[in-house]
Structure formats: structure tokens, C-alpha cells
Symmetry: C2
């Protein structure tokens, strides 16, 4: 058994944001495994087989990748963004732990990528200038009460909050509820960023106010990263362009000062 | 005035983790501005001037970069990792807001990079598989009570926690106190990762248990990223290598189940 497995982050989509290490890992693979739309971003290559699969079958996909590697193939599992952030890396290790003990002898590597919140931040200014967190709003894998308890905790503690997987056809109301919760903790003019498909041809970026964000939730989709500012996050207006959004590095007041709502 | 400013993320250090966009932005600059050790990573280039500065003078450095750009230079401000994560981007926007209004006419762009927590996660497995946060332990810019209040909030809510700027000569005890707090919330065998200079020649990686982490705090330095697992973060042992660390994607219990301490 001389196969191998590498879990590769494609970044947000632009070739100019794909690391040389990730590019090389893809080029050296005999087999590419991933969600169909991610595989579609990679040009076909002679002698390289693509194994596309649907969304929401991550464990089956990970098991398939490990099986191919155990058969001696050089397998690359591809993820959008960074593979460790709400993507394929954790699924591969779950499958590894539950699967054939022989898989533990396989060389497994991870190639990081630019995750959506870094791309969205780069496009808007420096919204992640303070302490921040990333929460998946999907309740496929955790109870909704856990998501809201976590959201409440980081709203009170005044983190900048990045929401991944904010909305889908099966989960139409969660984002609106989350933004409604946020509106009870943050000043009404706190910037909320809807960053969709940043780094791809159809990218769009909207900077909303906290008091209008919940009503706009329905315009987000699974390709949208929603970023809720801290209470100190602010805009710098400029002529001829969208305002910059940034979070000052300094914090002078208690993080609990906003927990009573400020409207 | 035809100058420009780009704030560039060099990533963790390896050229193979530097994005093509960041590389191009550096190559196109007439002037490079940054902390000396970051500038040292960039090969000298004819016609390109390096303006190195000390650590902890970020606002002065940002003002200098904006001044050069306003004089018509093509300026690249370089940061390690991602420029938006506890690095130069926020300092540039603070200087912009407080500075010469003419600076608002400058084109300003940000090129994202692989930040330390993504590199550390890639080297160890998938520790960021669940909800996670990033906190700077530096109290230069925020009161220590704010850092501890935030830490307490995300410990109770069971996030994976990444600590940036964990320790320095001027702040020798904060990391030990933070890890002591963590030990009161997490199971004793929760993995704690000390990832130092990942992606550089002198990189080192240690996976400790929660109950031994606080005593090891003194071995960290400013190049170390400390990652505290969630209560579900676990190890997969393997022959002939360090164990993998991963956080399963699923959460089944209340995030408050660990808030009473579990020893």
C-alpha cells in the first residue's frame, strides 16, 4: 500500500488566491475527490480521475477517498476555502477514526487555503481587527440551541462574528433569527457584511446596518459569508467607492457594556 | 497623486504558502513597508526600497506608508500571516481615519494570506472542525479583564480557542493564567496545541494535555499560536508520528455542559 491522501484548500475561487502548495498537490494527484462544483474549478488533466459527489455526503466522500488511497492511489480531497474550516478535513478524520485500522498507516497531509472570512475581510477593509469567531449556522450537525447559545455568548463578549453556512432551502429562518439576536446586543449602526462568492466572477458585497440586516437575511445563500461587527466596528466613507469597514485594535471598555442592548 | 497602497499577507513563511496575488503585489511595489523580520523574508530587488521598522510602532508605520503613497509611490505594507488578523490592516485604517483627508483618495487594497491558526490546524489534523474563535492575549491595546471575560465566554460556550500573541517579555504570566482558566472548563485530556513558527525552518509543534498546558506556558513565545480544543476535540494515535488532532463536526450536547469544570 503506497497510496496517500492530501486534503486541499482551493481558497475562495480565484487562481491568484490558490497557494502554490495547494496547486502542486492537485497536480500530483492521481484522483481528485470532492463536491462537484469544486472539482469543476479544476481543469481536466490526462491520467487524473475526478470523483464528484453531492453536497452533504461528506463522510461517504471521505471514506471513498481513504479507500482509494489504501488501494495505492495518490488522492487529493478538494475543499473550497480552507479544508479545516467547516469543510472536508474534519470529515476525513471522522471517517479515519471509525474506519479500517489499516488507513492509519496512510500518509495524510492538509494544505491550507484562504477561508471565506479572510477574503471577505480583505475586500472590505479590516473588519477582523479585533477578537473574532466563526460559527456555522447549519443545524445538520448540531442542535440549533447550541448555535444560539454560542451566538449569545460571543455577542455579549463583543466579538466580531463570522457566520458560515448561513442559510439554505432547508434552513430558511435561522439567519434572520441570528441577526435579530445580534440587533439586541449591537448599536443600530454596527456594520453587517454580506459577502457572497468573494473571489469568483459572480461575487457581490453589501455592507448593511445592524437594524436592516435581519430583514435582508433572505437575500443570503450558502455562498454568503455574513460578518457581524463588534460594537466598535466602524465605517470610513470615501468618494467613489463603498465605505471601508474596520474594527479598531484597541478596546477601552468592558466587553459586557453592550449586553443590555444599545438602540 | 497617483500612488497606491496594498496591505499584503505573507502567510506563515513558506513560499509555497504565499498566494500568487500577494507575490505579485510585492513585486509591483516601489516601496515595501513593514516590521524588519518580515521584510527580511523578501529578496532585495533593484529599484525597490525597503522601509523596516520595529515591532509595536504599527500606527507610525501605517502613517509612513500612507504618506509615501500620497507622494505617488506604489507602497506595499507587509504582514506575516493574514494582514487582517491581529496585523497591519486595522492599523492602516486607524491611521487613515485620523490622518490627512487627502489619503481617502488613495486606492487601498488588501491581499489575504494564510493566518497562523490555519497553518497550525493543517499541520495537526482538523482541530478547527467546529465553531472556533481567535483572541489576542496582548494587553497593549485592550485591558486584561476584557481578554479574560472573552476567554471565559468562549470556554463556557465550548468554542475551539486560538490564542494569538500569547506571551512576551513584557507579558510573562498572561498565557499561564489563560490556560489555568481553560483547565477549569475543559476535560483534563483536552488537546492543547503549541504551534511555533509553522511554515518556517525552525517550526515546532507540541500537542499537550489540558492538565499540563499551563505549566508549559513559559515555553511559548510571540511566534507561537496556542490552540485550546473544545470539549469534543480528540486525538487519533498513529504509528510513527504525532497523533492527529481533530474536532468532530457534530455537537450533541449543550455547550454549557462543560461550564462547571470536568476533572
Amino acid at each position: 500500500m503506497s497510496g496517500s491522501l492530501v486534503i486541499v484548500g482551493l481558497g475562495p475561487g480565484e487562481a491568484r488566491w490558490l497557494t502554490p502548495a495547494a496547486k502542486a498537490a492537485i497536480e500530483c494527484a492521481s484522483d481528485l475527490v470532492g463536491y462537484g462544483p469544486y472539482l469543476d474549478r479544476i481543469p481536466a488533466r490526462e491520467g487524473q480521475t475526478k470523483h464528484g459527489s453531492d453536497n452533504r455526503v461528506e463522510i461517504a466522500r471521505a471514506g471513498h477517498a481513504l479507500t482509494l488511497a489504501a488501494q495505492g492511489r495518490a488522492v487529493a480531497v478538494v475543499s473550497g476555502g480552507d479544508p479545516g474550516v467547516f469543510a472536508m478535513a474534519a470529515a476525513v478524520f471522522e471517517a479515519l477514526e471509525a474506519g479500517d485500522p489499516a488507513w492509519l498507516a496512510l500518509p495524510i497531509a492538509i494544505e491550507p487555503g484562504i477561508t471565506a472570512m479572510l477574503a471577505a475581510a480583505a475586500r472590505t477593509g479590516a473588519p477582523l481587527g479585533g477578537d473574532f469567531c466563526a460559527i456555522s449556522l447549519s443545524d445538520n450537525l448540531k442542535p440549533w440551541e447550541v448555535a444560539t447559545a454560542r451566538l449569545e455568548a460571543v455577542l455579549r463578549a463583543d466579538f466580531v462574528i463570522c457566520l458560515y453556512n448561513p442559510i439554505s432551502r432547508a434552513r430558511p429562518w435561522q439567519l434572520g433569527q441570528a441577526l435579530g439576536m445580534a440587533a439586541r446586543h449591537r448599536p443600530v449602526d454596527t456594520p453587517v457584511i454580506f459577502a457572497r462568492a468573494i473571489g469568483r466572477r459572480d461575487e457581490s458585497l453589501r455592507v448593511l446596518r445592524m437594524d436592516e440586516a435581519a430583514a435582508a437575511a433572505g437575500s443570503a445563500d450558502m455562498a454568503t459569508l455574513v460578518m457581524i461587527g463588534a460594537s466598535s466596528t466602524r465605517l470610513i466613507a470615501r468618494e467613489g467607492g463603498a465605505p471601508y469597514v474596520y474594527t479598531p485594535r484597541s478596546v477601552t471598555k468592558s466587553p459586557c457594556a453592550t449586553s443590555q442592548g444599545r438602540t
